[in-house]
Subunit: 330 residues, 2 copies
Amino acid sequence: MNDVAARAGVSLKTVSRVVNGEPGVLPATAERVSRAIADLGFRRNDSARQLRTGRAAGIGLILEDVSDPFYSVLTRAVEQVVRDNDCLLLTGSCDDDPDREQELAMALCERRVDGLVMVPAATDHSYLAHEIRAGVPVVFVDRPPINLAADVVLADNVGGARDGVRHLINNGHRRIAYLGDDLAIFTARERLTGYRSALAGAGIPQDESLVVMGRAEPVAVRAALDRLLSQPNAATALFCGNNRLTTVVLRELAGRVDRPALVGFDDFELADLISPGLTVVAQDPAGLGRVAATLLFDRLAGLSDAPRRVVLPTVLIPRGSGEAPPPATF
Amino acid sequence: MNDVAARAGVSLKTVSRVVNGEPGVLPATAERVSRAIADLGFRRNDSARQLRTGRAAGIGLILEDVSDPFYSVLTRAVEQVVRDNDCLLLTGSCDDDPDREQELAMALCERRVDGLVMVPAATDHSYLAHEIRAGVPVVFVDRPPINLAADVVLADNVGGARDGVRHLINNGHRRIAYLGDDLAIFTARERLTGYRSALAGAGIPQDESLVVMGRAEPVAVRAALDRLLSQPNAATALFCGNNRLTTVVLRELAGRVDRPALVGFDDFELADLISPGLTVVAQDPAGLGRVAATLLFDRLAGLSDAPRRVVLPTVLIPRGSGEAPPPATF
DNA sequence: CTGAAAGCGCTTACAG
DNA sequence: CTGAAAGCGCTTACAG
């Protein structure tokens, strides 16, 4: 900026005015400055600006894995809001590793981002209390924070799972298995609650042998399916707690003749093209991202209520796999 | 840092030493400083550090759209390399808008990122020459830069398309249509070249009525398919130039009885589960991201050859849709 | 309409 | 092993 000032024959402050489009510079002066900027290929140094203003014009996004379609769509939505607010987005995947989450969050705070949107992995977020007090708003998405009062935007996991399971019940099923993620994960617990609630609502007794929680690994899923579908009182329908599990289940089911009815939580790109079409409880990942980011910027603009909890509805999309009736009993 | 120094009864410099893990601090002193840091909840301000050191410890990634699976997988790979180098990632989608690309690139440069990885959208990248000269390396991915000498990492578009079309030829097809993206897009041109090369190699005459270039819009695709599949000398096989087109085509084909053989460029999550399985020419989006980011850090570490052009191989994955023979002629 | 001075919070280069 | 001074490139607050 000094060089530009020298070349244009003005002071530093005048260059600053031109660069920032502040009023009160004679057109002729501004013109000279602009030319000097172009000649020198000057580009304002944002770190200096940040240091002085205290504003990074950047927000951080932490999630499990950008390459997962659910999160990549969410990321895109956050990106859009961030852009509308003339900010830049800093991102990081933490692979559900609590330490990595904290590492990322701290790195972003050291960088003095204006705020944070995060899909939490950790089991204790009290480490963020100090940052929030220091004026860095944090909005959680998809899962709530633990030991911390902060904004959170969630999908209606209980209601969505209940709808999905109820749909199977309405199609005549009473032996419905639930395959879900590890219970350590908030959404897995919520969806299991929805499953139980649907059964209870229909007066169907809970059978713990029909509930399988764990990672989406082909071998484990195959073993579970073998058991569920061949045990004396076999399951006639499956409800899958998330898209990764649904994928593995679909693949394992591909070879089998008597396929159970199936409803999955989370929608897929090609879900309508497989045969039968996959019936799903669709979440709104873009909505989650958009609402969370918008709330963050509202906080940044001064909104200071108590932490909010926003729940977004899910939608049941029947495509065939969830409408198959149970086999006739003999 | 001043507060920490005061509380620990040491100088600023000593605090800096502790924070940065520099040697030459008595354990007892370091201990006092650490306690002061913890008590005050001190977090180093990276903008100040950046200003002084000139290093952002951050790199920028610009691409078309993170929510596209191809790019989200690429993003994840870049992220991984960035993390291994103790950097943070700044991202932005430009929706194939040249102005937006430049806007993002400039914003990232003002922020003094250490380097840039980009899937270009613009038709002129000379605006980056100054930045590169100023020491900010830029690596292009998926498409080469225009009017600029810079590193680029590409998929083997020509070879991949040639393999895909040749595969159809080997299965007996001679009337093979090519549906590709707009010719303004580099990869679309390359893949068309591969298509032509495969035909030429088999001595099959080029028929321009079988080549359709355009956006992946259902209405346009349907019209093209109606024409291609019903014209006197109808196409018996289709080669789709990218995943978005393939999706639309699959959807349009879903209702039809006489389905042509089909090979798509780009792999899909559920490509093996649709029926028939989708035969694809798979790119390696993670490889593209990894190689590009690694090259960027090599540049940052001082590598100073001439700009490189790295081409990554593609793989043909037969799954059924590309192996169907043409209908018997009468 | 324009500018001189101070300072944001660190690190660098040097001295002791 | 520890510290005092200068400076990175801007903006803020003020003066003229």
